[in-house]
């Protein structure tokens, strides 16, 4: 075993939840509002409903071989060559996802907060801290998430509470203006962000000690995270209107700017940035961790930690050259990300699962056959 740490179901639930919120909290509302206008909140809830089926698939896949990670499963089910090919495909998705997250944090900070700071510097710092976490192991990452979890929740609650006076119900009317099509379109696009990305937890679920409560924790984490996201989308639209939400690059940050209670509680948009930094940190760290662990398992190394520095170089460089500009990034997010995620994080695991089930059945049959003889 490359990872000796053990995490509890509660830790797992927290990390799933934080992962779900991470990065979508800032990009999600804009993306949804672009497609579904004022019905974005419905699109978001619909996406949550659909995503339960993904989680279902992941849980079934994980329970096929409860003590193996996805990469190990692949090899066991598909054999050395095809299995490793599938694993590499899977890992390259998360390689891109890690670099995309690093890119997102860099873009956000350089447009909103630290404008003059070179984006490379921010990326390097963030990735270094993430490396620090990955290096300390899964247990430490999850426990750190548990420590920050009440803060994230507290800040979120505070933020939502402060926004209540700004709500204008007229903003979500008329309901169903464009019919069902834009809603489906919107929810389709938010599938890849973040629900399909949860496939990374196939790399982590074997390390949960309480096997029987993994399922519940996974569902609960996804569900609560998804509800928070829907809530956020709803509140963005209620406060700012669909037009304004869609037009802004980081609508939830602008949402923070709208808070003004008396002359006292205002100018606290940095809270949003803090929530976002925390959540995206854990998302990145989990991806980074899964990537390093998976790669080590593919190459049969006995230590994933030595891969971290080389991977850091790779992630930084991909983050810098993958998108020539922010328009490209948004284009990619809007049009390619969801189908790509569907291929890698849904059809691929589905394929592996189906083959796995067939193989297992056959093995049992063979066994009974031999017994009969």
């Amino acid at each position: 075993m490359l990872e000796k740490g053990k995490i509890s179901a509660f830790d797992f639930q927290v990390i799933v939840l934080v992962f779900t919120i991470g990065s979508s909290i800032l990009v999600g509302p804009g993306l949804l509002a672009r497609f579904a206008k004022q019905d974005a909140w419905m699109a978001s809830s619909l996406a949550l409903m659909i995503s339960v089926s993904f989680v279902f698939l992941y849980i079934r896949l994980a329970s096929l071989y409860p003590s193996l990670t996805f990469v190990e499963c692949n090899e066991k089910i598909l054999g050395k060559w095809i299995g490793n090919m599938v694993s590499i495909l899977f890992l390259s998705y998360f390689y891109y996802l890690s670099s995309g997250l690093v890119r997102e944090i860099g873009d956000f900070l350089t447009t909103q907060v630290l404008v003059e700071t070179p984006i490379q510097m921010i990326m390097i710092m963030f990735l270094l801290i993430s490396l620090f976490g990955v290096r300390l192991g899964l247990e430490v990452i999850c426990r750190t998430a548990v420590i920050f979890f009440p803060w994230i929740v507290g800040f979120l609650l505070m933020w939502f509470l402060f926004l209540i006076p700004e709500i204008k119900l007229v903003h979500i009317q008329p309901i169903f203006e464009g019919g069902i099509v834009p809603i489906i379109q919107g929810s389709y696009h938010s599938l890849g962000l973040p629900f399909l990305e949860l496939a990374i937890f196939l790399m982590i679920s074997p390390y949960v000690t309480e096997k029987e409560s993994v399922k519940k924790a996974f569902y609960r984490g996804t569900f609560i995270g998804g509800i928070i996201l829907s809530f956020l989308v709803t509140i963005s639209i209620l406060v700012m209107g669909a037009e304004f939400t869609a037009r802004n690059t980081y609508p939830s940050y602008i949402l923070g700017k709208k808070i003004s209670i008396g002359e006292f509680v205002q100018r606290i948009e940095i809270i949003v940035a803090i929530i976002w930094l925390f959540t995206i940190y854990f998302k990145l760290t989990i991806c980074y961790y899964g990537l390093a662990l998976g790669l080590a398992q593919v190459f049969k190394l006995n230590n994933y930690k030595i891969l971290l520095f080389p991977l850091a170089f790779l992630i930084i460089s991909l983050a810098l050259f993958s998108h020539p500009d922010i328009v490209h990034f948004h284009e990619f997010l809007d049009h390619t990300w969801t189908p790509l995620s569907l291929t890698i994080c849904f059809f691929l695991p589905l394929f592996v699962y189906v083959i796995g089930v067939i193989r297992k059945k056959r093995a049992i049959e063979n066994q009974s056959n031999t017994e009969n003889i």
């Binding site: 510097m121 008329p174 169903f176 209107g241 037009e243 602008i254 700017k257």
Partner: protein
């Protein structure tokens, strides 16, 4: 051996830290801009900024310099002009604490959309400042006025706008996102409160102005500017402004004068709630406005027997009529003169009947000009103030 990588990481982090502090700006290196004025010039914009002189406002000893300073620059775009100001302003302009944006009337007539893009794109700008239109004088001149009582003129405008919206209801505070929202929306057109300089225009920048008990010059907010898309097309008069606020449910408190025998009674509106409903009747859109208003007697200047419930009912009726008149006048005025749906009736239809709205959306302005509407006012007078009967009845003899 195990600790080595920690040490390595530590060094890398320190290395990163030592390489610099790029975005740093010390407090004494920034110039806090509280008001921004935008005027039109032949080939671009004249930008004027009002900068705070913090030492004068919060310092222990005053050196006799002015509390605010105005700078202007002329360039092709707003952004360029702001950068051009660096040739004049010794410090880096800092826009996050902007309270007021004043737009010159000629510019507003030409269209403010281009200007607004900068205001919503720049990362430093927040969305919590108010937008106003300078009436009768360029925006730069508005920023050139020293105000009495409030040391920072922009703050004076800011609080005056808030207070008058709350207590007078003939102005309206407009923030950036709301403005953009109504420019973009087809069923709603924007309004912005006007602002003008009264008194001796020359004396504005003179520091001695604020040393007078009654200043020679001052700033006053009044009237609402009617826009069509992003272009200013005219001004609402004061009564129509009030009517406008009644329709858009923007009344927190106001004063209504009602005639009675040989005089007037002032009624203070303390609560008002408007609901606007849109319906398609006989293939024609129709608007129905219901206003629920509650008031107290604020001042009595005539002989009226307030202890009599009948006379109170009469007053209530007058009160209702007064509001109704203003609302109707406002709508008719806008329908005839401006053909611009500043009340957001289009949005009402959009919300209540999105399918029908699709039909009208294209030529809504025309539809709006011929829109039928009914106004229903429920006025109630609840309290009489601290005295009941006016002593005017006694003084008559």
């Amino acid at each position: 051996m195990k600790k080595k990588w920690k040490i390595l990481m530590f060094y890398i982090v320190v290395l990163c830290l030592l390489t610099g502090c790029w975005s740093r700006k010390e407090l004494n290196e920034i110039a806090i801009v509280t008001a921004l004025g935008i005027d039109k010039s032949e080939d671009g914009y004249i930008i004027s900024v009002q900068i705070i002189n913090p030492g004068e406002i919060a310092g222990k000893t005053s050196t006799g310099r002015t509390e605010v300073v105005r700078f202007t620059a002329n360039a092709g775009t707003v952004f360029e002009a702001l950068r051009e100001l660096t040739t004049d302003v010794p410090r880096k302009l800092y826009l996050a604490h902007l309270r007021e944006v004043v737009i010159g009337e000629p510019l507003a007539k030409e269209g403010i959309g281009k200007v607004l893009d900068f205001l919503s794109r720049d990362h430093e700008l927040r969305t919590d400042f108010y937008l106003t239109v300078a009436k009768g004088s360029p925006a730069s001149e508005i920023l050139n006025v020293q105000t009495a009582l409030e040391k920072i003129p922009a703050n004076k405008l800011f609080s005056a706008l808030e207070n008058s919206e709350k207590n007078w209801a003939r102005t309206k505070t407009v923030k950036l996102d709301e403005l953009i929202d109504s420019i973009v929306s087809n069923g709603k057109e924007p309004v912005i409160t006007g602002i003008y300089v009264y008194g001796d225009h020359e004396a504005g920048g003179d520091f001695t102005n604020v040393q007078n008990v009654s200043p020679n010059i001052g700033l006053r907010i009044n009237q609402l500017a009617v826009f069509k898309k992003d272009k200013l097309i005219g001004w609402l008069n004061e009564d129509a402004s009030k009517g406008f606020n009644y329709i858009t449910d923007n009344i927190k408190s106001t004063v209504v004068n009602v005639p009675c025998q040989n005089g007037k009674v002032s009624i203070e509106t303390v609560r008002s709630k408007t609901s606007v409903e849109g319906k398609i009747e006989n293939g024609k859109p129709k608007i129905h406005i219901t206003i629920n208003s509650e008031g107290n007697i604020g001042e009595v200047q005539c002989e009226i027997d307030l202890s009599n419930q009948e006379s109170l009912h009469k007053l209530e009726e007058e009160y209702q009529n007064n509001i109704k008149d203003k609302v109707e006048e406002a709508i008719l005025n806008v329908q005839e003169e401006y053909h611009s749906d500043i009340f957001g009736f289009g949005e009402v239809f959009h919300r209540s009947d999105p399918k029908a709205w699709k039909r009208y959306e294209q030529n809504w302005d025309e539809e709006f000009s011929n829109l039928e509407f009914t106004v229903q006012v429920e006025g109630k007078i609840r309290r009489l103030g601290t005295i009941t009967e006016s002593f005017q009845n006694e003084t008559r003899e």
